[in-house]
Symmetry: C2
Subunit: 897 residues, 2 copies
C-alpha cells in the first residue's frame, strides 16, 4: 500500500488506460479487478474506475469519512470518462451517465447496493431524450434512476414507487411497463419526485455530484447492512475486507429492439455441461433479468429447445452479437481456467461486457467442470481436486426421489438447484427459521426471494418460488447453499395473508407436506420416497484423483451392516469406531442387558452376559465379513448403565416382569444408577474396571468372531479393541490385561491365531496430557473429539443449545465447536497427545473418530498434526476423502505411490 501522503485510492479501467489486474481483488474487489482484467484482454468494457476497498476500511476506521485525497482523484477519473465518452457529467446537452456498484473481494450476490443511470436529472433527462432521439428511453431511464437511487441512497421504500406506477398503468389501462410512452413516464417521474419530497421533506437531488457521492456513500454503507452481515457470517467473510465501489459509464440495453441485456454462464452451472448457458432480454436494463419481473429468453437455440421455451433465442435474434459473445466466453474460460458468470449489455447491436467472475455452480456441475477442465488440459488433477468444496459433495450423496414412487405433481417450475427435499410448507423466512430451529424440515415457498430471505433459505430444506428464472435470486442463492430449489412455478398462487398456496383449485396450507425436486422442477404433494445417488462418472474420477493425492486413510463410524456397507461403497478403508452399545438396544438383547444391570452379583451378571455374547459375536462376524480384511476398531461399552433402564413407572413394571425381578429392585436400581452428570459419570472404562465381566464378554465376542471369520473366509481380520474414557495408564493396563487374557483363551480354544491391537480413546484432557504414559500400553489412540470438546470446554453438547447461538451471535465462538474442531484449545491437546504418544511409541496408530472426522476444516487440522486416519459417518466418507486430499496438497504431504 502506498503511504498516506501519496495514497492511490482510485484505479481506472477501459478506454485504453487500465490500471488494475485480476490479481488485485483484495484492493479492487472481484468486480473491479475483473473489469480491469477484461479491459486488459481487449474485451469491450465500458470505461470506468474503482474506488478501492482501502477507502472502505478508511471510511469505517474514521467515523465514516473519506480520505482527503479521494475527492480530487475521483474528479480526475470522471474527467477521463468524460473525455473517453465525449460527454459531460451533468451536462444537459450531452450528459455522461454512470452506474455505481459495490464489489467486494468475494462475490456477495445481491447483498449490496447498486445504482444505475446516475447523472440524470430533469435537465439531463431532457438532454438525453433529445440527443438519443428516444424520449421514452430517456424518461424510462430517469424514472428507474429515481426509483433506485431513492431506495438505495435515500432509503425511501420502493412500494411508494410501485403504487404510483400501478396507478398510472391502471389509469391508462396499460399492462406492461413497455406499454408506457415517454409522456406516461414523465408523469410518473413527477409523481415519483413528489413522493420523494413528501417522504424526505426535501426534493430529489438534481446536483449530479451530490448524486455521485450519495451513491458511493450508500455502497460503502451497505457493507454494514444486516443482509451483508448475515451473508458474511454464513460464508465466513471477514468484515475487515471491505468493499470497493465501481463507477462505470452506462451502456443501455433499453434503447430499443437492437438493444439487450443478459447474464450467462460459460458452462451449465446446474449440470456442468460444456454449453453456453444464459438468459437475455431485449430492450431492457440488467436488473430486469435478475429481478425476475419479465420472463427471460434463452441465449442459445439448444437452451430454448431444452426448456421448451416459445421465446426466440439470442442466437436467432442477434446472431452476430451472439457469436461475438460466444468468442468472449471462450476467451474468458481459457484465460481464467474456470467457468465464468458474465453480464453483458448490447447497446444498438454493440456488445459490452459488464462483469465476469468465477460462476457459482451446483456440486455435480462443479465436479463435471473440474474433471472436464482437467481433461481439456486447462488445469491439472491436483487443481481439479482443489476446486471442489468437500462440503458440497453432501449434495451428491443424499437420496434423490425414487423414480418408481407415486408422486402427485401439482405444479412444475424451473429446475433451479438440484436435489429433492420434503418438508412442511412455510411462507416466510422467519417462520422457516423458527420451524427449522424446532427440528422441522421445511420448504420455503415465496413469490420470489430477496436478500432479506437469506436466513430462511438457509434454514429450509428446499425453496419454491412462483416467479423468476434460473438466474433469479432464489436459484443462484439456493445453488450456492446446496438447497433444492424450484423457481418460477407460475401456476402456483401464493397468498401470504391467508398462508395458503393455490393451484388449479387445490389449496396447500402452511404446515402441509410438500416435496420438490430441484433437478426436474416438479412440485409434489406429500412426502415422496427417495433412492441412493449414483457414485460413478465424474464423481468416481475426481475421488480417484483425490485418493491418489491424500496421505491420511479414511475410515467410518459404523456398527450396523447397512452403515458398514454404505461406507465401503463410499470408499471407507476400515471402521474407526464401532459403538458396541448400539448393538445393545435391539429388542432381543435389551432384556439380557437389563438382567445384567439388575443382577445382584457378578454371577448374575455373568449369566445375563452369557445370553448377550452370541448376539455380539454375530454382529462382529457380520462387520468383519463386510470389511473383509480392513481394520475394524471396536469400542467396548461406553454409556452409563442407566441408559439401558426405563424411566416411567409403567416401563419399570414391564422390565420387572420381563426380567423376573422385583419391581422394588428395579426401582431401587434406577434410583441408584441415577447420575447428576452422566457425561462425567460411571461410564467408559469405569464400567470395565467395576464390572470387568462386561468387557470380558465383549472381548470374547470380538475374538471368537475374528477366529470364525479367519477360519471361514481365510482372510486376515484385524480387530482393534478400543477402551473408552481412559484417564490414567493404570486403567488401560488393568483392562488390557483382561482383553489380552481373553484373546489368548480364544486362540487356544479355537486353534486360530489372529492379530489384534488394544488401544484407547483419547477423549479426556488428562488422557491427552498423560498420553506419553498411556502410549506405553496403548497400540493406538483414537481422538474422541466429541467428548474431548465437551470436557475441554466444560460444555455439554446436549445443553449447549441454550447459549451457543448467542455465543455465535456475539462472535465468542466462530463455529460450533462440536462441528468444527476448536484448533486452539482442543487442538492443542491433540497436538500434545500426538507428540507425547509418538515419542514413547513412534509407530503408534493415530486417528480421530469424533464428528469432526467428517469436517473439512478439522480434517485439515488432522493432516497438519499428522494423524494416520480420520473416521466419520458413512455419508461423510467422500467428503473426508476429498478434504484429506486438499489438506495433503496444502501441507505438501502428497502421498507418493
Amino acid at each position: 500500500m502506498a503511504s498516506q501522503g501519496d495514497s492511490k485510492w482510485v484505479y481506472s479501467f477501459g478506454a485504453g488506460a487500465t490500471e488494475g489486474r485480476a490479481d488485485m481483488k483484495n484492493l479492487l474487489g472481484g468486480k473491479g479487478a475483473n473489469l480491469a482484467e477484461m479491459a486488459n484482454l481487449g474485451l469491450p468494457v465500458p470505461p470506468g474506475f474503482t474506488i478501492t476497498t482501502e477507502v472502505c476500511t478508511y471510511f469505517y476506521a474514521n467515523g465514516r469519512n473519506y480520505p482527503p485525497e479521494l475527492k480530487s482523484q475521483v474528479e480526475t477519473a470522471v474527467k477521463r470518462l468524460e473525455k473517453a465518452m465525449d460527454a459531460s457529467f451533468g451536462d444537459p446537452a450531452n450528459p455522461l451517465l454512470v452506474s455505481v456498484r459495490s464489489g467486494a473481494r468475494a462475490s456477495m450476490p445481491g447483498m449490496m447496493d447498486t445504482v444505475l443511470n446516475l447523472g440524470l436529472n430533469d435537465a439531463t433527462a431532457a438532454g438525453l431524450a433529445k440527443r438519443s432521439g428516444d424520449a421514452r428511453f430517456a424518461y424510462d431511464s430517469y424514472r428507474r434512476f429515481i426509483q433506485m437511487y431513492s431506495n438505495v441512497v435515500l432509503d425511501v421504500d420502493h412500494h411508494h414507487f410501485e403504487e404510483i406506477l400501478d396507478n398510472h398503468k391502471r389509469d391508462k389501462s396499460h399492462n406492461l411497463d413497455t406499454d408506457l410512452s415517454a409522456e406516461d413516464w414523465q408523469a410518473v417521474i413527477e409523481d415519483y419526485k413528489k413522493a420523494v419530497e413528501h417522504e424526505l421533506g426535501k426534493p430529489f437531488p438534481q446536483d449530479v455530484q451530490e448524486q455521485l457521492w450519495g451513491a458511493v456513500g450508500a455502497v460503502f454503507g451497505s457493507w454494514m447492512n444486516a443482509r451483508a452481515i448475515t451473508y458474511r457470517k454464513l460464508h465466513d467473510i471477514p468484515a475487515s475486507w471491505g468493499t470497493a465501489v465501481n463507477v462505470q459509464c452506462m451502456v443501455f440495453g433499453n434503447m430499443g429492439n437492437d438493444c439487450a441485456t443478459g447474464v450467462a454462464f460459460t458452462r451449465n452451472p446446474s449440470t456442468g455441461e460444456n454449453a453456453f448457458y444464459g438468459e437475455y432480454l431485449v430492450n431492457a436494463q440488467g436488473e430486469d433479468v435478475v429481478a425476475g419481473i419479465r420472463t427471460p429468453q434463452h441465449l442459445t437455440i439448444a437452451g430454448k429447445l431444452a426448456n421448451k421455451s416459445d421465446l426466440p433465442a439470442m442466437e436467432e435474434v442477434m446472431p452476430e452479437v451472439f457469436n461475438q459473445l460466444n468468442e468472449v466466453r471462450l476467451k474468458l474460460e481459457k484465460h481464467y481456467r474456470d467457468m465464468q458468470d458474465i453480464e453483458f449489455t448490447v447497446q444498438q447491436n454493440k456488445l459490452f461486457m459488464l462483469q465476469t467472475r468465477n460462476g457459482k455452480r451446483t456440486a455435480p456441475a462443479a465436479l463435471k467442470i473440474a474433471v472436464d477442465l482437467a481433461n481439456e488440459g486447462l488445469i491439472d488433477q491436483a487443481e481439479a481436486v482443489r476446486r471442489i468444496d468437500p462440503a458440497s459433495l453432501d449434495q451428491l450423496l443424499h437420496p434423490t426421489l425414487d423414480p418408481k414412487a407415486d408422486r402427485k405433481v401439482i405444479a412444475k417450475g424451473l429446475p433451479a438447484s438440484p436435489g429433492a427435499a420434503s418438508g412442511k410448507v412455510v411462507f416466510t423466512a422467519d417462520e422457516a427459521e423458527t420451524q427449522a430451529g424446532q427440528g422441522e424440515s421445511v420448504i420455503l415457498c415465496r413469490i420470489e426471494t430477496s436478500p432479506e430471505d437469506i436466513h430462511g433459505m438457509h434454514a429450509a430444506r428446499g425453496i419454491l418460488t412462483t416467479r423468476g428464472g434460473m438466474t433469479s435470486h432464489a436459484a443462484v442463492v439456493a445453488r450456492g447453499m446446496g438447497r433444492a430449489c424450484v423457481s418460477g412455478a407460475g401456476d402456483l398462487r401464493i397468498d401470504y395473508k391467508s398462508k395458503i398456496m393455490m393451484v388449479r383449485g387445490l389449496t396447500v396450507k402452511e404446515g402441509d407436506i410438500l416435496t420438490i425436486d430441484g433437478s426436474t422442477g416438479e412440485v409434489m404433494l406429500g412426502e415422496v420416497p427417495t433412492i441412493q445417488p449414483e457414485l460413478s462418472g465424474d464423481f468416481a474420477t475426481l475421488m480417484g484423483w483425490a485418493d491418489g493425492i491424500r496421505r491420511m486413510k479414511i475410515r467410518t463410524n459404523a456398527e450396523t451392516p447397512l452403515d458398514a456397507r454404505t461406507a465401503r461403497k463410499f470408499g471407507a478403508e476400515g471402521i474407526g469406531l464401532s459403538r458396541t452399545e448400539h448393538m445393545f438396544f435391539d429388542p432381543d438383547r435389551i432384556l439380557a442387558v437389563r438382567e445384567m444391570i439388575l443382577a445382584e452379583n457378578e454371577a448374575g451378571r455373568r449369566a445375563a452376559l452369557a445370553k448377550l455374547e452370541p448376539f455380539q459375536k454375530k454382529d462382529f462376524v457380520e462387520l468383519f465379513t463386510i470389511m473383509s480384511g480392513l481394520p475394524v476398531t471396536i469400542r467396548l461399552l461406553d454409556p452409563p448403565l442407566h441408559e439401558f433402564l426405563p424411566n416411567t413407572d409403567a416401563e419399570m413394571e414391564e422390565v420387572a416382569k420381563a426380567t423376573g425381578t422385583d419391581l422394588l429392585r428395579v426401582n431401587h436400581r434406577v434410583v441408584q444408577l441415577h447420575e447428576a452428570n452422566p457425561m462425567l459419570g460411571h461410564r467408559g472404562c469405569r464400567l470395565g474396571i467395576t464390572y470387568p465381566e462386561i468387557y470380558e464378554m465383549q472381548a470374547r465376542a470380538i475374538f471368537s468372531a475374528a477366529a470364525e471369520v479367519c477360519k471361514t473366509t481365510g482372510e486376515t481380520v484385524m480387530p482393534e479393541v478400543m477402551i473408552p474414557l481412559i484417564g490414567t495408564k493404570k486403567e488401560l493396563d488393568i483392562l488390557k490385561a483382561v482383553v489380552d487374557r481373553v484373546a489368548k483363551e480364544v486362540m487356544e480354544s479355537t486353534g486360530v491365531t489372529f492379530e489384534y491391537m488394544v488401544g484407547t480413546m483419547i477423549e479426556l484432557p488428562r488422557a491427552a496430557l498423560k498420553a506419553g504414559e498411556i502410549a506405553e500400553s496403548a497400540e493406538f489412540f483414537s481422538y474422541g473429539t466429541n467428548d474431548l470438546t465437551q470436557t475441554t470446554f466444560g460444555l455439554s453438547r446436549d445443553d449447549a443449545g441454550a447459549f451457543l447461538p448467542e455465543y455465535q451471535r456475539q462472535g465468542i465462538l466462530e463455529h460450533d465447536p462440536f462441528q468444527t474442531l476448536d484448533q486452539d484449545g482442543v487442538g492443542e491437546l491433540i497436538a500434545i497427545a500426538t507428540e507425547r504418544g509418538r515419542k514413547v511409541r513412534p509407530n503408534i496408530k493415530l486417528g480421530i473418530c469424533g464428528e469432526h472426522g467428517g469436517d473439512p476444516a478439522s480434517i485439515s487440522f488432522c493432516e497438519k498434526v499428522g494423524l494416520d486416519y480420520v473416521s466419520c459417518s458413512p455419508y461423510r466418507v467422500p467428503i473426508a476423502r476429498l478434504a484429506a486430499a486438499q489438506a495433503a496438497l496444502a501441507a505438501d504431504t502428497v502421498k507418493r505411490d
Copy 2:
C-alpha cells in the same frame, strides 16, 4: 547396598559390637536402628541382631525364599549372643531365649507379629526352671511361647488356648493368671500341645532352629497380611519398604516381684507436658501392658495422683530403677531431640531398654512439644514448624463440648484421645464403615479394639472401649488418627449379640446417639452442644513462626459474616472466593431470584434483579467491613438457574402463587431449564453472556458496597470481581466491559473512587491452555480446582462415589483427586496456565480456591508452581498457614521480611 556376592543381611547390636545406627532405618527398620543407636549411646540394651529389610524385599521378589548367605549370617549372630549371654540356644542345661519382632521403616503399631520366649521346648523349659530356680516363671514363659508361636507362626486361633486356660482356672477356682502355680502351668502346657497337634496334625515344634526360622518367616509374612496392608494404605506407606526382623535376647519382667515391664513417653503424649508419662506392671511381660488385660500402674507419683489411681507408682515401688529410667529418658530426648516412646523391662532390679522411637502424640501435644523443644533450644523454629503435621491441626480447630450445656453423663472412662464427638452407636468396625459411608456420624463402641478394627476406627467420629488403658490399642491408634477416644469405661457392658450396651440399668441400643469427650473421658447420652476452640498459647506461637516463614498468602472461601469472622480469627488474609449464589437462597431473596428466572423478558428480569440488589449490597458491605481492607474476591453468579427452581409439583404451585406466575409457565420454565449435564451446562459466565443484567446487578451491588464502606470507614476496600467458567478471552472481554462500565457509573454517582480488579476462575482445561490470551484481560487467575479436576478427569464429583472407592482399592488413583490435587494431570494444566499467564502479564495475581486450597500436599504443589495465595474453608486456614510454611521450607523460598 553391597553386591549380591558379599551381601550383609544381618546387623548385630548390643554387647559391645553394634553395627547399626539410628540413620539406618531404611535398612534396619525403626526398631532395629534405634536399638543399635541406644546400644551406641551406652544404654542397657539386651544384645541381638537385625535381619535387614532387604531380606524382606528379596523374600517377596524370590517366591518367599531367603538369600543363600542368610542362614550362615544368622548362625554367626546367634553364636555371638550365646557368647554374650553365656548360654546356648536349645541347650536344656542353660538355654538362650530370644524374642523375634518385626520392625519396619515407619512405626506400624500392632500391625505385625511378635514372638517372645523363643527357644523354649519341653527340655529347655525344664532347664530354665532349674537354672532360674523359679519353675512357675519357666512354665509361665513356656505356655506364653506356645500360645504366641502357635497363633503367630502356626496360625492356630488363640481361642483354643483361652478356653483351655479358662477351664483350668475354673477347675482350680483361680481368678487371676498369677494364681496359677508351676504345676498348673505344666498341665496347661500339656493341653496346649495337644490342642496344637489336634489342629495341625503334628506336634508343636521342639527344635529351636525350626522355631527361629518359623518366627522369622512369620514376621516377613506378616508384612503382607490384611491388617498391615490396610494400615499402609491409611498411612501412605509403600509396600516396597519391607520390614526388618529383630532377634534379641530375652530379658524377663516376669521372674518375680523385682521384675517389671513398662511402656513410657518422655513427655505427656496427650498434652505435651514435659513430664515422664507411662505405665508398668510388676512381674509381667511386655504384652501384658499393651494388651489391656491387667490394669497398668503409673510410673510416677504425679501420674498416679493425677489419675486418682490406688495402685503404687514405679517411682515408689522401685525408686532406684525408676531414677535410672528417668536418666535414660533425658538422655534419649537430648539425643533424638524429640519426645520418645520407650519400652523397658526390669529383670531382677536391672533395667533393660527394649525400644525407643519418636512417640505418637495428639495435635495439642505435638504443638506444645515442638514449641517447648524450640524454647529449650533443642530445635530451631523452622524445625518446630516442620514437626507439626498440618492435617493434625484439624483436631485443635473443631468444637469441644460446651461446658455450660446440659450433659447426661452415663459413664466415665480414660481421656484417651482428646476432642468431642457425637454420633450413632455401632458395635462393629464393619458397621461403622458402612454407616459412615452413608454419611452418618458414628461412635464405635467395643470392649477393646484390635488391629482388625482399624478401618472402623478410621470411619468413626469417636471410639469408646470398656477395657484398656491410656496406652491400649484403642488409645494409641485413636490419637494417631485424631479421633476422639474414651477407653476403659468399665461400667459399660457391651453385648455384641443383642447390639446393646448397658450401664446401671440403662440400655443404649445400636443407632442411639452418644457423645464422648476424649479430653475428660465422659460418655453422654444424646448430642451435646459444642463451643469453639481457643487458639492462643502454643498454637499462636507456632502459627506465628509459620507466618514468619511462609511466602504464600492464605485466604478463605467465605460468603457469610460468620465464616468471614471465623476465618479472620484463624488468620485468613483475605477472601479468595465468595460465592454470591449462596446469598441467593435466603428466604427473603429466593422469591426475587425466581421472579427473575420466570420473567418473560429482560425488563422483567431487571425488575426482579432490582429487588435483589439491596440484599446483595448489604452482604458485601458486611464482608468488606469484616475484612477491613483485605482483598475480597467475589465470584459472580455461577450455578445454572434451575438450581433455584423447585422440583416437585407442590413446590411449583407455591412458586407460581408467590411470584404471581402462571403455573404452566413455572412448569414450562422448569422443563426448559432442565439439563442433561448441569455441570457442563448454562452456568458461570455463560449466564453473564446471555443475561448480562444479572452480572450488572451484582457488579453494582459490589461497587456500591465498596463505595459505602470506603466512605463510612475510610478504609481501602479491595474488591476483586471474579468471572467464573471462562473458556475464551472474548467471554471475559464482554463481561469485563460490563463490570468496568458499572464501576465507572458507581464512582460517578457516589463520588467515591475505589480500586478493584477483574479476573477469572481458571477451571476449564481450555482456559488453562488459553491462559496467555486470557491474561491479556484478566488481572488475576484463581484456579478453581474442583471444576478443573472434574473436567480434566471427565469426572463428576457428585457421581464418582459409584466407582472411586474401587479405583482407590485397585490402586488406579492413590488419592481422591477432589481431596488431593492430581499434580500429574490437573497440576500440569495449572503449571501451563501459570507460565502462560505470567508471560503475558508478569504481575498477574495467582491463587487457588478449590477444596485443594486446604490440603497440605496440594499447597506444597502451589508453592512449587509459585502461586501468590491459596484460599480454603475457614477451618482449614491454620492448616494452610502451616502447610504453606512447610512448603516454603521445602522449596527454600522462605519469606524474607
